[in-house]
Subunit: 330 residues, 2 copies
């Protein structure tokens, strides 16, 4: 949707961000006339860096920087020296997307036009600076599931209230891992030493998952996602998972063998870590990609959520493998 | 240090960020003369929004926006209308700090001067836009320990290589938790059901820790930290930990009691979670604050690091409390 009935624009769009303080020049002006007009109208307006040339119907037809106007010959017409290839925003563009365009276009301000190209306002790069800051804060809040808008001055009851929903949700998801261990109670009772490696395997699976998550979430800020690029990314992360998995598996297999004196235990722990690291890496990639695909914000796949899901996956794999080799472990 | 011997500035400072394309006006100019000078010199220079008034020794003494110059009476002297209260950067300011100043000052460009106030260059807000973006990326990379500079196009071997150092470190830290469980082997063998709640308690402690971490790291970007504000923040997080701890402890105590039919188990799990959530919240606050205090980047206290440390703390507390009540648990 572009505008609502009452003329109010959607939150966090170019329509709400734009400001009115621009100077428009009629297309009939000469450079000299334009400078005179500028000198008469510039008072009280901050941030005048570009001048917008409009048709009688107020359609935006060109743009001129003050610099270009001042450097031009006085008798020329403004339409002779204006830039016709204009970068302009619609009113309903997401502010993060607008920030991307500011980044690539290297402009101080960009005009906002309606569907008939009429000039409505301009957005300044200073306002975009706040947007970039705010979006980065929001990404971090979501990635670390820290709850909205908690700063140094938030009072403790409000801060706790904002943090609790995620924690309660994660508490219940975390209980699933308890249910999994219960199903493998016999295995664990037979070889209590399996418990020693539980936190490490679950933790490592969570760690590699959050690493992948960070790559995906920040990548999506500046990249278009196609089926092809998603498939390529997923394949890349799969290979990364294998390399990381083999390296860590060898390290832990040797440590487990030396520590507990059991080659089978070393192999069970090592092969479990290999499998969980590959799956954890893929989960940390697929979950935010799916959220993005279904128009949800990929950053709600927070580190804690990925960690908790990977906890569950890793316990299933670890105890599954251990149970297969239980006769050799005892 | 300000500049190196060969005149090259430190990385990521105002000195490397500044550009030369500014227009300086002699202090003797009238407005009319300044406009003429401007019209003659503006060609080929992009991003001219302010004019800098300099003394014969090229010291920066004032600033004028083109808008103000154009709106002023032609016979006035530029020194009569210039703004004398100038915001200027030294050459050795960190680019993140410069971005902060851009955010609060709402300026399109800010001049850079040397120690004798001579004008060396200017920094544009468009360049700061990239800085803010890049610093946010760096914060997220560090917070999620995702390794430097991995994007969608990094090849898998490079990506794995950049991610491995953190993972190997976390692997060894994770083994400490294995050592802790080994010390409590007797307790665990006696009551295997204790293992069911291990991942949930460790996970929740990590989750609350990363939440606190997010608040501290992003807060430090925009706030000055004094002993007083650190103490107040720590006290706030302590209260938050108590509120979160009591809420989650009651929930889990009831669940544990219903699930396993043991009131003592419910109380052990609940009181452990209360203690670990308070300690986890404090750890997630203290560790980045200490890093900041000792001039390290607080964001290297990544989520995975806080999670792994909190794993260890939570297991110590959980098995410690369980061992105290072991006779009642069996």
């Amino acid at each position: 949707m572009t505008t609502m009935q009452n003329g109010v624009f959607e939150m966090e769009t170019t329509g709400t961000l734009m400001k009115k303080g621009f100077i428009a020049l009629q297309e009939t002006y000469t450079v000299e006339e334009a400078i005179t007009h500028l000198r008469q109208n510039v008072q009280g307006k901050t941030n005048i860096h570009y001048l917008y040339i409009v048709s009688p119907e107020y359609r935006l037809i060109g743009v001129l920087s003050i610099r270009e106007l001042l450097g031009a010959h006085g008798e020329k017409n403004v339409t002779d020296i204006m830039i016709k290839d204009i970068v302009a925003f619609p009113t309903d563009m997401d502010q993060e997307e607008a920030a991307q365009i500011f980044r690539s276009e290297d402009l101080v301000s960009i005009p906002v036009v309606n569907c008939t190209q009429q000039l409505l306002g301009i957005i300044h790069v200073e306002d975009i600076l706040d947007v970039v800051w705010q979006e980065a804060d929001e990404d971090i809040e979501k990635l670390l599931a820290s709850g909205k808008e908690i700063n140094f001055h938030t009072n403790p009851i409000v801060a706790a209230w904002r943090r609790l929903p995620w924690l309660i949700l994660l508490l219940f998801i975390g209980l699933i891992s308890g249910g999994i261990i219960e199903r493998f109670e016999a295995t664990l009772e037979a070889v209590v030493a399996l418990a020693f490696f539980m936190p490490m395997i679950a933790g490592m699976t969570g760690n590699t998952g959050t690493q992948s998550l960070a790559v995906v979430v920040r990548g999506l800020v500046s990249e278009d996602l196609t089926m092809k690029s998603a498939a390529r990314l997923l394949f890349r992360e799969f290979i990364v998972g294998i390399i990381i998995g083999i390296t860590c598996a060898i390290v832990i297999a040797i440590i487990a063998f030396i520590w507990r004196g059991s080659l089978v235990l070393g192999l069970v722990v090592g092969s479990s870590l290999l499998a969980t690291l590959i799956i954890g890496t893929l989960a940390g990639t697929i979950i935010p990609l799916l959220l993005y695909k279904f128009k949800a914000d990929p950053a709600i796949a927070s580190g804690p959520l990925i960690t908790t899901i990977n906890d569950i996956l890793s316990l299933l794999i670890y105890f599954g493998i251990a149970t297969m080799f239980i006769s050799k472990l005892m």
